[in-house]
């Protein structure tokens, strides 16, 4: 492969929370790296010059939590379509959860994912390996081998490890190799059979509920084990006030813990399930309006470190069903930035804080390259227009599945140019 032409991004608002940069200027990308950052850079002869005035030039976004469905469920999404959707949303890197078929619980599966990702090329793919073989919660995977093969963390996402003793062992073992443990925190004996958040709306709709305590109890346990083992523990998709509070206390105790939430928990609540809208069905479920407020505040204050999409594509086969029978999960890669910009416009946090939750913070949590515009770092960049409203149209999305929770919503802005390793992976049609 020939090296891409250098790219000079001219006159944008350079915004890099990692290095505290926020000023108008130019950014030169060459040989897959950030070559120079400055107020005015003369383009090298061969460079492609792109005018970025009026736009924000930020590090490419990093998503800690996506489901790419390959191998096994390629009718929902493939690594190619999923990373294309990522690029369209401004993401240059995604961490894919291991609940594929087969489960990513061995080096062979990890290598297969990385091979396909290298071919697809639209975003860096960082596989997350399983904690237990087959996500069965019975034994430990060969985590050291998974790490060598390219896994950046371990998780039994979707199938929380219910055996506390086993989870303790997993954390101890993983910490011996400095492998972060990513927890889907759910007390299954409390959530079993539930279809949505337990509250007035579930009561009105006659749907079996999932109380917030099913999450809080598990978050408390997982964090307590982080304290016991000293492991690096990351809590997935925080959806309620009790989990934010638990994470705050664990951080005050000085444990190596972090947490993420997803855009839908910031923008919607259980009432939005409306008349059995299966595109508002996900796990954990949309919680009460008060929980949503607590999650928003937790994110603004930095108790919740990052926004991850939990991009979970499902075809109409799984979604155009009775609510109780429909699959949990919604897509998110292409709408995340828009939802975050809504929060900025509402004054919840500064644009810089918001971008930090999508870049520097996720990079730090899993020790990934990128997340910064610093000279010498990877040339992963997202250029976005924070003031170019657009309407979410499922059919126009690049994800193979159209199960967005935000169809028809007008979002304030979107990615116009995404560059990964110095190559353009997405360019918005003018």
């Amino acid at each position: 492969m020939s090296a891409p032409r250098p790219i000079l991004l001219k006159g944008g608002r350079l915004l890099c929370p990692a290095s505290g940069l926020d000023k108008k200027g130019d950014l030169l990308l060459a040989k897959g790296r950030v070559e120079a950052v400055g107020s005015k850079i003369d383009p090298p002869k061969s460079a492609k010059v792109i005018d970025c005035s009026g736009k924000v030039v930020a590090p490419g976004f990093i998503d800690l939590h996506v489901h790419l469905r390959e191998p096994g469920q390629e009718y929902k999404e493939t690594i190619a379509s999923g990373t294309a959707a990522a690029a369209a949303g401004g993401f240059t890197a995604v961490c894919c959860m291991p609940n594929t078929d087969p489960v990513n619980d061995s080096a062979a599966v990890t290598e297969q994912i990385l091979e396909r990702a290298a071919k697809a090329g639209s975003a860096r793919v960082y596989p997350v390996g399983a904690i237990t073989p087959g996500l069965a919660g019975k034994a430990l995977t060969q985590m050291a081998e998974l790490k060598d093969a390219g896994c950046v963390a371990v998780s039994d996402d979707g199938h929380p490890v219910s055996d506390s003793r086993l989870l303790r062992r997993a954390m101890e073992y993983a910490s011996g190799f400095d492998i972060p443990v990513v927890c889907h925190s759910e007390e299954k004996s409390l959530s079993a059979g539930g279809a949505m958040h337990e509250g007035p709306t579930s009561t009105r709709l006659g749907l079996p509920g999932i109380p917030a305590q099913a999450e809080v109890i598990a978050v408390e346990r997982d964090l307590a084990l982080a304290g016991l083992t000293g492991a690096r523990v990351h809590i997935c998709h925080i959806s309620c006030a009790g989990s934010v509070e638990a994470l705050r206390r664990a951080k005050e105790a000085g444990w190596a813990v972090s947490g993420e939430t997803a855009p839908h928990y910031l923008a919607l609540c259980d009432e939005d399930v409306g008349e059995y809208d299966t595109h508002r069905k996900m796990n954990p479920p949309l919680r009460s309006a008060a929980d949503r407020e607590a999650v928003r505040r937790g994110l603004a204050e930095g108790i919740i470190d990052a926004v991850a999409t939990d991009h979970a594509p499902h075809s109409v086969l799984e979604k155009e069903l009775e609510f109780g029978l429909a699959a949990f999960g919604v897509t998110g890669l292409e709408t995340a930035l828009g939802i975050i910009l809504e929060l900025v416009n509402e004054g919840l946090m500064s644009l810089s804080q918001a971008i930090e939750r999508l870049t520097a913070s996720p990079a730090r949590i899993l020790g990934l390259p990128g997340g910064s515009l610093a000279k010498g770092g990877p040339a992963d960049v997202c250029v976005f227009d924070p003031a170019a409203p657009w309407v979410v149209e499922p059919e126009a999305m690049l994800s193979m599945s159209k199960n967005t929770a935000f169809a028809g919503r007008t979002l304030p802005g979107r990615a116009v140019l995404t560059i990964r390793g110095g190559k353009v992976t997405h360019q918005a049609k003018e």
Binding site: E198, G199, P200, S202, T203, R204, L205, G206, L207, P208, G209, P211, E275, Y276, L317, E320, L321, E322, F323, G324, L325
Partner: protein
């Protein structure tokens, strides 16, 4: 009289005027059931599909009788004969039904919201005959008709609904309909069977059986689903009967003119003692008779000659 709606998916959103229209129509159609020839030609040429994904002989029989008394043609489709068991989705099945060009689908389904899903995809009248733990609007209406006949009105009444509220679509439809009409509704049952946030639905929750019974003008007892026992929602039928059943002891504490109802079938000796079920308070058989009248009214108003 007419209604300005195509479907009856639940009593939520149905106005007091509409409910009155339905009850008045049922009242006027009721006499057909007492004629020597119990049939009028009102729905001649109309086809009604009874699509019962969940078994319920009583409700289906009542709907079928209603359709036949109005001379409608009926087709019955149950879970075992439908292709739902063969991996076909609800929407596929609905589209197949539609190809037979019926005028109305009466639908019973184990999943809450199933008729709402159907209504989004097919453009004919749908009557919800019970969906999951959500609503059973025709039952709510027949209960209201029965109460109105006994009391002369619905506003200002105190109605207690006792038993498994959480899983009861009857309780939801009764509550919504009755509060719309100005009644005050109280729920009572084991705490495991009272839904969270029951008060947000507009019901009062009683703290003991005495409180639930004392001031009530109407007591509606709900059926205990025996399989709830295995869910560990209450310890034994014996304790249930003692604490949440309606017996002579409770009736003595009740108002003199109280009436007692039950959607049936009764577990005698569990939610109700035989003396109560067969006593002078009981309106259980009126409920059954009114069921046919209310369903005739619904069919008449939704797909009859004057329907919108």
């Amino acid at each position: 009289m007419s209604l300005s709606r195509r479907n009856l998916l639940g009593l939520e959103g149905v106005s007091a005027e509409e409910i009155t229209t339905i009850l008045d129509t049922a009242e006027s159609l009721k006499e057909i059931s007492y004629r020597p020839i119990r049939k009028v030609p009102t729905l001649r040429g109309k086809t009604i599909v009874h699509f019962f994904y969940e078994a319920s002989t009583r409700t289906r029989t009542s709907f079928e009788l209603a359709a036949k008394r109005l001379s409608g043609d009926t087709v019955s489709l149950s879970a075992s004969t439908s292709s739902l068991t063969k991996g076909e989705t609800l929407i596929d099945t609905a589209k197949n039904l539609l190809a037979m060009s019926p005028d109305c689908i009466v639908m019973r389904h184990s999943q809450s919201g199933a008729p709402h899903l159907l209504a989004k995809h097919i453009p004919i009248s749908i009557i919800n005959a019970g969906d999951g733990a959500h609503e059973h609007p025709s039952q709510g209406l027949l209960d209201m008709l029965t109460i109105r006949q006994a009391k002369g009105h619905l506003d200002g009444l105190k109605v207690s609904i006792i038993g498994d509220i959480t899983h009861s679509r009857v309780a939801r439809s009764d509550l919504i309909g009755l509060t719309t009409m100005g009644s005050e509704v109280t729920f009572y049952g084991p705490r495991t069977l009272i839904p969270p946030a029951a008060d947000t639905l507009g019901a009062k929750v009683a703290t003991c059986m005495e409180e639930a019974v004392e001031d009530a003008d109407v007591i509606i007892m709900l059926r205990v689903q025996q399989e709830r026992l295995t869910d560990v929602l209450f310890p034994t039928l014996r304790e249930y009967a003692q604490r949440f059943g309606l017996g002579m002891k409770q009736m003595r504490a009740a108002k003199k003119d109280v009436v007692v109802m039950h959607p049936g079938p009764i577990n005698r000796g569990v939610e109700m003692s035989p003396e109560v079920a067969d006593g002078p308070w009981s309106l259980i058989l009126d409920q059954v008779a009114n069921g046919v009248a209310v369903r005739m009214a619904l069919l008449y108003l939704l797909i009859g000659p004057e329907a919108a």
